[in-house]
């Protein structure tokens, strides 16, 4: 019981650091680049607009990482989802609704197969999802090596729909422009909240933390470890499919090279958000802040205007090191007690 309590505080501490860091960075941006739009509410909302798909995918990754697993197939799943949707709508004349259904089913299928292999066959998640990554990218190229632009009217209507906010900013010419968010952001935020509640207040969530914290004792407590882990992978796969759909709404296109390296963005966001690679610790809210931090760094560097955008990677790597060090400090402090 004592141990459980300790873990929650360390998890809470990591989350706190992430949130403080995010607000500190953003505040710094607002002060330094006030004349470059950082003070505008839309600039803040754009962090969500550009990363809606990544938010959902990071949530899925957080779930499997809590169990001590990993999923590196999500970038390829995203590319495959975009390609299938584009191909279905543009070449096969299928309606946008059917295309969305196909996207979600692809994600689900990846989740079921990978989850089965990891939990019931006992194969390393890294290897299973590495295979998934190759398969997804390969299938994308098999469907088409061309770039397919989505011109489906209904789909474009979704992509360009905006929810206007009561607040906004005035532009140079003195015209008031309300801030807005597209539907992708609404979906992403709802998903983050649902997963957060699911993990914190539901049996499924608590079992995940227990399994990730110590699989052996979870087994001895009589938890259905395999079933829970399988469900975690299925949910992760489904979220990858959904995230792929949101990604597609942002880019309105399908092509092979899409979302390359997205899995690494998702993993690093989760780690910066306080998820332990060894399992047992992590929250979707934290991962969300991880994504926002990544977005803020790239906005800061674009606003600066002369720095090479490779600096985004360098700052991210520094942050990753920082968080991993903090995590291991916490872990060793725990052991001493």
């Amino acid at each position: 019981m004592m141990k459980q309590k300790k873990k929650m505080t360390s998890s809470g501490f990591l989350l706190l650091i992430t949130i403080v860091l995010f607000f500190a960075m953003y505040a710094a941006g607002m002060v330094i680049f006030a004349d470059k739009g950082f003070a505008k509410p839309q600039m803040f909302l754009n962090l969500f607009v550009s990363n809606a798909g990544l938010l959902v995918i990071s949530c899925g990754l957080t779930i499997v990482m809590i169990t001590g697993g990993i999923d590196i197939s999500v970038g390829s799943v995203t590319a495959l989802v975009c390609m299938v949707m584009a191909d279905l709508m543009e070449n096969k004349g299928v309606s946008a609704y059917v295309a969305v259904l196909a996207a979600l089913l692809i994600g689900l299928a990846f989740g079921v197969v990978q989850g089965f292999l990891v939990t019931y066959m006992g194969i390393q998640p890294f290897i299973v999802t590495l295979a998934g990554m190759f398969f997804g990218r390969g299938m994308t190229a098999i469907i088409s090596t061309d770039m397919i632009s989505i011109k489906n009217e209904l789909f474009l209507k979704w992509a360009n729909y905006r929810f206007y906010m009561p607040f906004g900013s005035t532009n140079k010419k003195g015209k008031f422009i309300p801030a807005y968010i597209p539907p992708t952001v609404v979906i992403a935020i709802i998903v983050v909240l649902i997963i957060a509640v699911l993990l914190k207040y539901f049996k499924f969530g608590r079992k995940l933390y227990a399994i990730g914290g110590n699989r052996q004792s979870a087994l001895m407590m009589g938890l259905d470890v395999k079933k829970t882990m399988f469900r975690a992978y299925v949910l992760d796969g489904f979220l990858a499919g959904l995230g792929g759909f949101l990604f597609c709404l942002n880019s309105c296109a399908g092509f092979v090279e899409q979302a390359k390296g997205l899995e690494m963005d998702a993993i690093s966001s989760a780690v910066i958000g306080g998820t332990l690679l060894s399992g047992g610790v992590g929250t979707p809210i934290g991962s969300m802040f991880g994504v926002l931090i990544k977005g803020t760094i790239s906005s800061l560097i674009t606003a600066q205007g002369t720095l090479s955008s490779w600096w985004v990677r360098i700052v991210l790597s520094a942050l990753l090191c920082f968080f991993i060090v903090i995590q291991s400090v916490l872990a060793s402090a725990k052991k001493k007690k």
Binding site: L262, T302, A333
Partner: protein
């Protein structure tokens, strides 16, 4: 524990501070024009020259502030950069797209914000053409036409105007706009000459290795008959030249030799032109900056602009047999290559 927490928070604020230590933004003078430029990356010499052209054109001395973003070959990064440009209220957005597709949403956002978007190099494929103001790039078909007009004049000058001429076309990556335009120029010219025949037309995928492979197989089938090899970029030409030499034939512009033509005029390509291995190399100009500035100045003055603007492009030949060609009533110069020209070029 508490002490550790304080240290950690200190570290956090230091990191945040670090990211904040930046040069303060140059003050936004009333007449400075701010341009946001989202570039594909830095994958080739051509691309680097393209970037440098923008940077030197939109310099502070010229009254501009350029916000440059390198997308590292990722469309997601370009979408984010354009959204940032919109929030920064830049006056113009210049976009060299990674891909032709996927620009509808973000260009709509730029349009709603009233910011003109100028596309350079690759074209964008959007559902509504009014989403961008203008496009600046190469006229690939004209490149092909110029090259073929040069070939016609060259053969004429060498007294081979009525001879049977057998041509090989090593195409670029099928579907790329450079391939489509250059192949069109080739096909049209062959069709217009009764004594010209296409022996083979195959893709070398714009690479040296593939260009060599394709040339080897063509040489095996009909090596003795080939008069002219039309390579759709310099890399393919390098591969083709290697293959021709390895098969025991000579490259060059005289009768009995195989004449190699190429495109892009990269530094290495022009060096081969100087040595006479490539007889004619047609330029694909990466210096888009001045053309883009021209458009911006017109827009500033409230004038209408052309939807498509081509950059000026020249052609270089190994010798001065032909110095001028005419395509559709317009004269184009063909410059005999010299070492000074190669040294003086930006790319």
């Amino acid at each position: 524990m508490k002490k550790k927490m304080v240290t950690a928070l200190l570290a956090v604020s230091m990191l945040a501070g670090l990211s904040a230590v930046n040069v303060m933004a140059a003050d936004d003078g009333a007449d400075t024009i701010t341009v946001g430029f989202s570039q594909v990356g830095a994958e080739s010499d051509w691309r680097t020259a393209n970037t440098e052209s923008m940077k030197s054109t939109f310099s502070e001395e010229n009254g501009y502030e350029l916000i440059f973003d390198d997308a590292q070959q990722k469309q997601e990064n370009q979408l984010t950069a354009i959204r940032n440009f919109i929030q920064q209220e830049v006056d113009y957005i210049v976009l060299a797209p990674v891909t032709e597709t996927g620009w509808d949403t973000v260009l709509q956002e730029a349009k709603d914000a009233g910011i003109p978007v100028i596309i350079v190099d690759r074209m964008v494929d959007v559902s509504d053409d009014s989403l961008y103001t203008a496009w600046v790039g190469s006229n690939f078909k004209l490149e092909g036409q110029k090259a073929m007009a040069w070939l016609d004049a060259y053969l004429e000058a060498k007294g081979r105007g009525d001879e049977e001429i057998n041509l090989v076309d090593i195409q670029g990556t099928i579907g790329a706009s450079a391939q489509i335009g250059r192949t069109e120029g080739f096909d049209e010219a062959v069709e217009a000459h009764d004594n010209w025949t296409t022996l083979a037309q195959q893709s070398g995928e714009f690479t040296q290795a593939k260009g060599q492979e394709v040339m080897e197989s063509i040489l095996k089938q009909s090596g003795d008959d080939i008069d002219v090899v039309y390579c759709e970029n310099d890399n393919e030409a390098f591969g083709a030249i290697d293959a021709i030499k390895a098969a025991g034939y000579e490259v060059g512009g005289e009768e009995g030799q195989i004449l190699v033509m190429s495109f892009d005029t990269t530094n290495a390509g022009l060096t081969q032109t100087l040595s006479g291995e490539i007889t004619c190399d047609t330029e694909c100009n990466p210096l888009h900056g001045p053309r883009v500035e021209e458009i911006i100045q017109k827009l500033e003055a409230g004038e209408e602009v052309e939807k498509q603007a081509y950059v000026d492009e020249v052609a270089f030949a190994a010798d001065d047999t032909v110095t001028k060609v005419t395509v559709d009533g317009t004269d184009y110069e063909i410059t005999p290559i010299t070492q000074e020209i190669i040294d003086g070029r930006a790319y």
